[in-house]
Amino acid sequence: MRKKILIIDDDRAISQLAAIRLRAAGYEVDAAFDGPSGLEKASEQRPDAILLDIRMPDMDGFEVNACLKEGAGTATCPVVFLSANAQCTARRRALEVGGMAFIAKPYEMADVIAVIERVCASKPPAPVPHGAPR
C-alpha cells in the first residue's frame, strides 16, 4: 500500500514541488496551505508522515504540531519540520517538540525523500556497535 504524506506549507510553489517529487517516488501526497486546513486534512486522512513548515501566517508550525499531538488520530503521526530559518534555536525546538527530523530550506529533494523514507519505515533503526577503528 502506498504511504500517505501530507504537506502543510503556505508556499504553494514549494509544496507542489515536493508533491511532484514524492509522487514520483511512489507516495500518495496531499497538500494544505495553512495550519487549520492542514489539521483538518490530517485528521481526515491520517497520513503516514507530515511535512510541516514552521513559518506560516496565523498558525505557525509549532502550534499546528501541538494540535496534532492533542488530536486523537494524529498524536502518533510523525512530523518532519521544514524551515528556511536554520538557526540552532528553531532546529533545537523542532527536535524538542517531538519532530522526527528538521529539514532546512532550501532542501535537496533527495534529502526530503530520504527523510520521508526513513520516517515511514516502521522498523526502528538498528543499534550500531560503537567502536574505534585503527
Binding site: D11, A13, I14, L17, A18, I20, R21, A24, F62, N65, A66, L68, K69, E70, A84, N85, A86, Q87, C88, R91, R92, R93, L95, E96, V97, G98, M100, A101, F102, I103, K105, P106, Y107, E108, M109, A110, D111, A114, V115, R118, P124, P125, P127, V128, P129, H130, G131, A132, P133, R134
Partner: protein, 685 residues
C-alpha cells in the same frame, strides 16, 4: 664685528703692565667691552660716582688702600656695580675678606690671564646682575610670568650659551614658583591630612573660583571644603604607596569635578598634590563609548540585514532549483538535449548562488557563536555521497571530470557530517571553478598520520601564487583572476571551511604550484575517543579564544560525566541529539560501552555546576507545549582532572569507559538531523 652685548668695565689697577694685561684679556666675540681705568682707590670712587659701569675689576692691593676698602665705600655710597676682585695673592683670608665686603667673584691673577677666564667671568657676573635687576625692576607689581620673561629675555641675548646654568640655579625658586602659578594642573599642599595650606590658581579654577579668590573656608580651608568625602577620606588614611588616585572635587557651583590626584608626602606633616582635570577626558571617554555603541548597533544592524536578506534568498532559490530539476529529469515530459544543457546551466548557477547564501549565513553563525556541532562516528564515503547531487552538474556544465578515490578500508571518522560535507563541497566547487575545460578534479581519502584520515581535493588549474596562499583562509580573501570574472564569489568559502574544520578538531591546508594545480587537504580524527580527546586538548591549548568564550579557569580542568537515559528511552541517538544541542562546541559526546548511555568529556572547573546546567536545559526543554517527553537523564560525575598535568589519566578513564572494537566496516549510527545519501559511490562524474 657684531656685538650682541655691550659691557662697560672699570679696571682698578695701579700696575700699568697689569692694567694693559687685564684689558687685553677682556675679549669675547659677541661682547664689546668698553673699558675705563682707575689707578687708585680715590680715582675708582670718582669714576663710579660719575657714571654707570656694568662691572668693576678690582686689584686687591692698591697704593692708597685695599680692594675691600673701596668696596665698603662703594657700598656706603649705594653703588651696586658688581665687583670682580683679582689678586696676585691666593691667600684664602684675602678672598674671604673680599667676599665679605661684597665682591661677587674672586680670581687669582695667574688664572685671570689664562685664555678667556676673566672675560667669561665678567660676562657672567654682568648677566646675572642684569637678570637680577630686571627681575627686581619687574618687582612685586608684576606677575611671575613677567618676571620669568625678564629672565629669559635677558638670557636670550646670548646665542652662544643660551640659558646659563648659573642663571637657572640662582633663579630656580622663582622658576618653580612661576611653574606652580602658571601650570594647568592644580597644586595643593595639605597639612596634617586636613588643612589646605596652599592652593595654586589652577586649583582654584578647578573649583570654579577666580585666581585671586580665597578657597571656601578661607585661610582655614580644609580638604572637606574642596573635595568630596571620598577624596578627603583618601587623605585621612594616606597610603604613601599609592602615588595617584581618581576622585572628585566639590566645585563652587556644587558640580562635582572628576580629577586625578597625584600625591607625595612632603616632610612629616604635609602632602603635596597635583590635581589634573579629568572632565575633558571623561567627556571624550563618554563620547567614545557612545560612538562605539552606535557603531556596534550599526554593525549589528548590518549583520542582521545580511542575515535576513540571505534568508529571503533561500526560498526562491529552492523553487528555482526544484522546478529546474523536475524539468531536467523529464518528470513532466521529455526535453531536448539543447534544453537539458540550458537547464544544467540554470542549476549550476543556482547552486553557486545557494552556496554564496549559505556562506553568508554560516559566517554570521560563526560570528554569533550559534554554530552547534554534532560530532559522531561517520563514514567518509557517506559524506562524499551526500554532496554528490550538488557536484555532478557542476562538473558537467563546466566540462571538468571529477574522480573520487575513497579507500574502502578507511576507519570511521568522528565528525559532524553536515559540516564536513560543506567543507568538501566548498573545496570541490573551488577546484572546478579554477579548472580548465577538460580538467580533472580528484578527491582522495586515505588514512593519514597518527589517528587521522586525510582528504585531498586536487585540481590541475592555474595554481595559487605564494602571496595569495598566505591569506587564502582569511575572510573576504579572493584569488584574483581577471579571466574568470564569472567565478567570483564573496571570498568567504575558505574562511568558513577552516572554521568548520577547527570545530571538527581537524586541520585544513593547501599546497599549490603555479601552472600545475592546487591540492587542498583536510584531516579528521578517526573515531577513537583517545585521539579525539587529545585533539580537543591540543586545540584548547593552542586557541586563546574559543567559540564558547570559556574562561581560562574553566579550561584549566577536564571533567567527565556519564549520562544515562531515563528508563524507557531506548534510542541512544535521541539522547545524543539532545545533548548536542545542550552542550558547548568544545564538549565531546561519546557513546558508552552499553550503547545506551553517553559520556560527556569537556572543560569544566566545576562539574557539579555543569550537571546542574545540563539538568536545567533538559527540564526547560520539557516545558514547551507538545513536547515529546525526553525525560531528564541521570548524570554521574566520572571525575575531574587538571588539563595541564593529568590529561593522560583523563583519557585513560575515557577509553576504559568506551568499549573499543574495530568496526571499520560497520554502519554508523543513523543520523536524525542530516539525511545521508547513497552508500559509498566511487565514481561521481
Amino acid at each position: 664685528m657684531n656685538h650682541s652685548c655691550q659691557i662697560a668695565v672699570l679696571i682698578v689697577e695701579d700696575d700699568e703692565v697689569h692694567r694693559e694685561l687685564i684689558a687685553s684679556h677682556l675679549d669675547r666675540d659677541e661682547v664689546r667691552f668698553e673699558i675705563a681705568f682707575a689707578e687708585s682707590c680715590s680715582q675708582a670712587i670718582e669714576q663710579l660716582a660719575s657714571r654707570t659701569f656694568d662691572c668693576v675689576i678690582l686689584d686687591h692691593n692698591l697704593h692708597d688702600g685695599t680692594g675691600d676698602q673701596i668696596l665698603r665705600i662703594a657700598h656706603d655710597d649705594l653703588i651696586t656695580t658688581p665687583v670682580v676682585a683679582i689678586s696676585t695673592s691666593i691667600d684664602p683670608d684675602v678672598m674671604i675678606t673680599e667676599f665679605k665686603s661684597g665682591c661677587v667673584d674672586f680670581i687669582a691673577k695667574r688664572d685671570a690671564f689664562r685664555g678667556r677666564v676673566l672675560a667669561n667671568a665678567v660676562t657672567q657676573v654682568v648677566k646675572n646682575n642684569r637678570t637680577r635687576a630686571a627681575v627686581e625692576r619687574a618687582g612685586a607689581s608684576v606677575t611671575m610670568i613677567e618676571k620669568a620673561g625678564a629672565i629669559l629675555a635677558f638670557n636670550g641675548d646670548d646665542p652662544d650659551s643660551g640659558l646659563s646654568h648659573q642663571s637657572i640655579e640662582k633663579n630656580l625658586q622663582l622658576i618653580y614658583e612661576v611653574a606652580v602659578q602658571t601650570i594647568q594642573d592644580g597644586v595643593v599642599l595639605i597639612e596634617r591630612r586636613s588643612r589646605v595650606v596652599y592652593a595654586n590658581p589652577a586649583f582654584k579654577r578647578l573649583l570654579g573660583l577666580s585666581d585671586e579668590s580665597d578657597l571656601p573656608g578661607g585661610p582655614l580651608a580644609t580638604i572637606d571644603d574642596v573635595m568630596t568625602a571620598g577624596a578627603a577620606a583618601h587623605f585621612r588614611r594616606f597610603d604613601p604607596q599609592q602615588s595617584q588616585f581618581e576622585s572628585w572635587l566639590c566645585s563652587a557651583t556644587g558640580e562635582p569635578v572628576p580629577v586625578l590626584i597625584g600625591q607625595t608626602p612632603v616632610g612629616e606633616h604635609c602632602i603635596l598634590c597635583a590635581v589634573s582635570d579629568l572632565r575633558a577626558i571623561k567627556r571624550q571617554q563618554r563620547e567614545l563609548e557612545e560612538k562605539n555603541q552606535r557603531l556596534a548597533q550599526l554593525y549589528e544592524t548590518a549583520n542582521r540585514f545580511v542575515d535576513d536578506v540571505s534568508h529571503e534568498f533561500r526560498t526562491p532559490l529552492t523553487v528555482i532549483k526544484g522546478y529546474t530539476e523536475i524539468l531536467e529529469q523529464e518528470i513532466t515530459g521529455p526535453v531536448t538535449d539543447e534544453q537539458r544543457g540550458f537547464l544544467w546551466t540554470i542549476l549550476d548557477r543556482t547552486r553557486d548562488l545557494a552556496q554564496m547564501v549559505d556562506d553568508l549565513l554560516d559566517t554570521s553563525k560563526v560570528r554569533s557563536g550559534c554554530f552547534r556541532v554534532d560530532r559522531r562516528p561517520q563514514r567518509l564515503g557517506d559524506i562524499v555521497a551526500s554532496i554528490r547531487p550538488s557536484i555532478v552538474h557542476k562538473a558537467l556544465t563546466n566540462h571538468v571530470n571529477i574522480h573520487a578515490n575513497i579507500s574502502e578500508h578507511l576507519p570511521l571518522v568522528f565528525a559532524d557530517a553536515e559540516k564536513i560535507g560543506r567543507v568538501l563541497l566548498n573545496l570541490i566547487v573551488n577546484a572546478v571553478k579554477f579548472s580548465p575545460e577538460g580538467g580533472d578534479v580528484v578527491i582522495r581519502a586515505k588514512p593519514g598520520a597518527s589517528g587521522e584520515v586525510q582528504v585531498d581535493v586536487t585540481d590541475n588549474g592555474p595554481g595559487i601564487s605564494k602571496e595569495n596562499l598566505r591569506n587564502i583562509f582569511r575572510r573576504f580573501q579572493q584569488v584574483g583572476d581577471p579571466q574568470r570574472s564569472s567565478t567570483k564569489g564573496f571570498g568567504l568559502g575558505l574562511s568558513i571551511a577552516s572554521e568548520l574544520m577547527a570545530m571538527n578538531l581537524g586541520t585544513i591546508s593547501v599546497e599549490s604550484e603555479q601552472n600545475r594545480g592546487s591540492t587542498f587537504s583536510f584531516t579528521l580524527p578517526v573515531n577513537d575517543p583517545a585521539v579525539v580527546a587529545r585533539r580537543l586538548l591540543t586545540r584548547a591549548a593552542l586557541t586563546q579564544n574559543l567559540d564558547d568564550a570559556q574562561s581560562a579557569v574553566e579550561r584549566s580542568a577536564i571533567a567527565m560525566l556519564l549520562v544515562t537515559p531515563a528508563h524507557g528511552v531506548k534510542c541512544s541517538d535521541q539522547l545524543r541529539s539532545h545533548l548536542a544541542s545542550h552542550t558547548k562546541t568544545m564538549d565531546l559526546i561519546f557513546e558508552a560501552a552499553d550503547h545506551r548511555s553517553m559520556i560527556l568529556f569537556g572543560f569544566s572547573s566545576n562539574p557539579e555546576r555543569w550537571v546542574e546546567r545540563l539538568r536545567d536545559a533538559f527540564d526547560e526543554a520539557d516545558e514547551h507545549p507538545g513536547a515529546v517527553k525526553m525525560e531528564t537523564p541521570g548524570f554521574q560525575i566520572l571525575g575531574s582532572w587538571s588539563a595541564s598535568g593529568e590529561s593522560t589519566q583523563a583519557i585513560d578513564v575515557l577509553t576504559k569507559r568506551i568499549e573499543s572494537s574495530n568496526n571499520v566496516e560497520s554502519n554508523p549510527p543513523p543520523n536524525e538531523m542530516s539525511p545521508v545519501g547513497g552508500k559509498g559511490e566511487r565514481a561521481l562524474a
